[in-house]
Amino acid sequence: MEVQVASPGLVREHRILRCIQCGRCTGGCPVSTNSGLNVRRLLNETLLMPALTFSPEESELWQCTTCMTCSQRCPKGIKPLDVIIAVRGQLIESGRIQPGLRDALESTFLHGNPWGKPREKRSDWTAGLDVKEASPGVPLDLVYYVGCTIAYDPRLQKLAQAMVRVLDAAGVKFGILGNEESCCGNEVRRMGELGLFEELYENNMKVFEARGVGRLMTTSPHCYNVFKNEYPGFGREVVHYSQVIGDLLKDECLLLSKELGWRVTYHDPCFLGKQNGIFDEPREVLGRIPGLEFVELDRCRERSLCCEGGGGRMWTEDVAGQERLAEIRVRDAVELGAEVLVTACPFCLLTLEDAVKTTGDEDKIRVMDLIELVAAAV
């Protein structure tokens, strides 16, 4: 089954006539090397053909991780990523998308999370911990927005639990949204499902208002990104936890006394680093953990190699024989002699941990989230 997308509208809206076909977009695209996605060619085709034809199930457009390198590198101010998302939106309207994507979207609409889990289990991770829910009358330092994947995935629930221990140790007054917390919609927006994104945005704004949210702290850079950049009229402060921990350490509200004698390196998540410019804060936090030996990956900061977890890739089908960028990343870290590969994004954590297993490097390196190191050093 094929879907036709008219080009003139795309060309107009995304100002593709400016394109000089320099190829900086594809040159920087992480999946140009391991998939059929060619951003430069896509833009060229919109200029040459009145309509483009796509297979909604199989199109390489679903390989895009929405890392945004193309939009950042374009010398003519074109946002190729926005073109990809616009076409994705039309493929979604056809209804004939991969079952994995369909299930994630349907689940987000029904349950408020893409994992098919019931809403009433969203705060099960708090069992045994004393965590309060935010309410308008009670002043808090921040509201902790946990995130769908962290709330439900057993590996990632440990991050939220570590976060609570660290915030408590620092004397931070915080609350959570409990089972009223719903998907932030970052991935939904990137998959092109604008209608669903609008629903999530409207419902979330009502919840934030009703709960008196002033300052919102996220675990995931994805949630941080969408609240900061794509929630019109958000009207409140949003921070990523690495920024909060950094401040707590600087102000000495949080003291780390345990020595972690590990050789570590840090993987910059696309949504934290290149998209939102948060490179230094996680490094400063690592710098304040006693005993750590920090080594820098060659592809660090803006050049960080995308792990292929974003843009809906958590739910797309694997393409047989396709090289995984996360495996390259793990091998690079092992070559550096790092024992721990640290990251600050739940999708990066999952894809990198998977890659440690598939490269057979489990005895050489492990993947940890920044908050886990902080909690271990408290």
């Binding site: 349907e106 809403r119 669903l196």
Partner: protein, 262 residues
Amino acid sequence: MDIVVCVKQVPVTAEAEVMVDESGRDIRKDRLVFDVNEADNYAVEEALLLTEKYGGTITLVNLGPESADKTLRSLLAKGTHEAIRLTDDHFADSDAFATARILAAALKSLSYDLVLTGSYSSDLGYSQVGTSLAELLGIPHAAMVTGLEVLDGKIKVERELEGGVHERLEIELPALLTVQTGINEPRYASILGLRKAMKKPIKVLTLTDLGLAEGEVGREGSRIFLNRLSVPPKGEGAQILEGGPEEVSQKLVEIFREKGVV
């Protein structure tokens, strides 16, 4: 090819905590979300694929409360054409047979080449509504269909039986088929599509509209009454038997004798 698809809205219980309610005859539904019955979703998709190929209209028929409109609209958003909801207080407690009777009354005034239903519902799972409906309508049927092909005035179907055996039948239209999950891959209905579907009308029919008597529906019209729902008591761990087939079957026979099963 005009198709009628009977759809049910059911609670989504896959990963939820299912508890029996105070009446002891139903589960607690206050914390559950509702969606189209899985097998019915596949039936709708099959209807969409058929009309895409052969033309025609798809009419959805649902026996349910007003809240079932949510499910009907999401199915209208997928491209089905009309929806009829059968709602009446008297319909409550209808078993599969009474349900089929109500559906038959609604279908009497419709013209169709094919009626599709899911092979069973994920809540009560009787697997009876479709086949009973076919009998009441006086049309041939096949249940648990896993594949179908339209011929001239006929339909060729494949059914999956036990032990991996497949049966192929040729049935004259109009006919009714109950459809298995997995027969196709259901499409996604976008929220924009859902918003457009909000404008489509849903026809609502009551007991009197359908010309049925009170005694024909609900508890009175049913032949099966659900007495009690209960959660099975947790038993002890499983016992794993080791050895070749001869050894294991011998052990099994001994266990059956021991437990008084045989």
